[in-house]
């Protein structure tokens, strides 16, 4: 049984699901909506882009998301400077319903690694303007500490590069970050399959954010459910407290009373 009191709290807001999902890369909006439903996520990320003014025939993403059910988390994907990221967040707040933003400032196109210097600059400005900032960052305990110090509502270190599906490449860094940081730690990026999500949660992370791991699967709706269960299982295992790892065997059955 899932402990009902075990809520994820970000900036005073309570969430029952610890899985956050993206809305990109799906075959169509119907598939996206079904996958999000199957994931049980309550926070969904979206991107901010220019509207096509010459062709208004296309459907809108928001027509397929029940905003009474989901909290939108607009991202600043594609921004390479603090200025562009801040500008995007201001537009996102105006287009949306809340001041939650997933702040990412990228360093280069090949790795999509964060430019942490620009990230800190952007986060400082946005927090002054009243935004609730959830920054995508590298798995660097010092950068995470600085992000917390300036007032970010969570830190979101990558498990591996965006869309790589390589899993949690440095669990030791994630552990150090968890020991250092008091705000929620959410692994963002790199999750390839259910066990990756479970590992993040077993380490003690407060949540996991993913897009490609679900949308890129052969059956995104089934993978969404797998991720939901993995996050729940990982969280329960973390709270249950795992046994220590030992080199040699310890018998599970009693030694006494063995027939001779």
């Amino acid at each position: 049984m899932t402990d009902r009191a075990d809520k994820l709290i970000i900036a005073g807001r309570e969430f029952s699901s610890r899985l956050m999902v993206g809305t990109g890369k799906y075959a169509d909006f119907q598939q996206m909506a079904k996958a999000i439903e199957a994931s049980g996520a309550e926070i969904v990320t979206v991107a901010v882009r220019r509207i096509n003014i010459s062709d208004r025939s296309k459907e809108s993403l928001l027509d397929h998301l029940d905003l009474t059910k989901y909290t939108l988390l607009p991202n600043t994907a594609g921004c390479y400077t603090a200025d562009d990221a801040v500008r995007t967040c201001r537009l996102a707040r105006e287009a949306g319903l809340s001041d939650f933003v997933k702040l990412e400032v990228l360093g280069d196109e090949k790795t999509l690694y964060p430019d942490n210097e620009e990230l800190l600059k952007a986060a400082t400005i946005l927090i002054k303007e009243g935004f609730t900032v959830l920054p995508y960052t590298s798995d660097d305990p010092i950068v995470c500490r600085k992000l917390e110090e300036i007032g970010c509502a969570a830190v979101m270190p990558l498990g591996a590069p965006i869309g790589s599906g390589l899993g949690i490449r440095n669990p030791y860094n994630i552990r150090i970050i968890l020991e250092t940081i008091k705000v929620p730690v959410i692994v963002d990026a790199g999750v390839g399959t259910a066990s990756d999500a479970a590992i993040a949660m077993e380490l003690g992370c407060h949540g996991v954010l993913m897009n490609t791991g679900i949308a890129g699967a052969k059956d995104p709706i089934a993978m969404a459910e797998a991720m939901k269960l993995a996050v729940i299982a990982g969280r329960l295992a973390y709270r249950a407290g795992r046994i220590p790892k030992k080199l040699y065997a310890t018998a599970s059955s009693p030694i006494e009373g063995i027939i001779e």
């Binding site: 993206g22 809305t23 990109g24 890369k25 799906y26 996206m32 990320t45 979206v46 991107a47 901010v48 882009r49 220019r50 509207i51 003014i53 010459s54 208004r56 809108s60 993403l61 928001l62 939108l72 607009p74 991202n75 994907a77 500008r87 201001r90 537009l91 996102a92 707040r93 105006e94 287009a95 949306g96 965006i162 869309g163 990026a189 954010l209 993913m210 897009n211 490609t212």
Partner: protein, 65 residues
Amino acid sequence: MQIIVNGENKIITEMSLSGFLESIGIDPRQVAVELNREIVPKSSFESKILHEGDRIEIVHFVGGG
């Protein structure tokens, strides 16, 4: 007069921002608008009159991670 909308030139008659959005079939509830790099709050769409050379950015939410 000419304005630039999302990088494209547009010829329009004098009108308000909300009139312009309506003329190109945009639901103002689902977008955010920048006029000459300043955010225009939705409450000002009606009163904001467009001028020659204005640069407008109209954005909305799309799928992303």
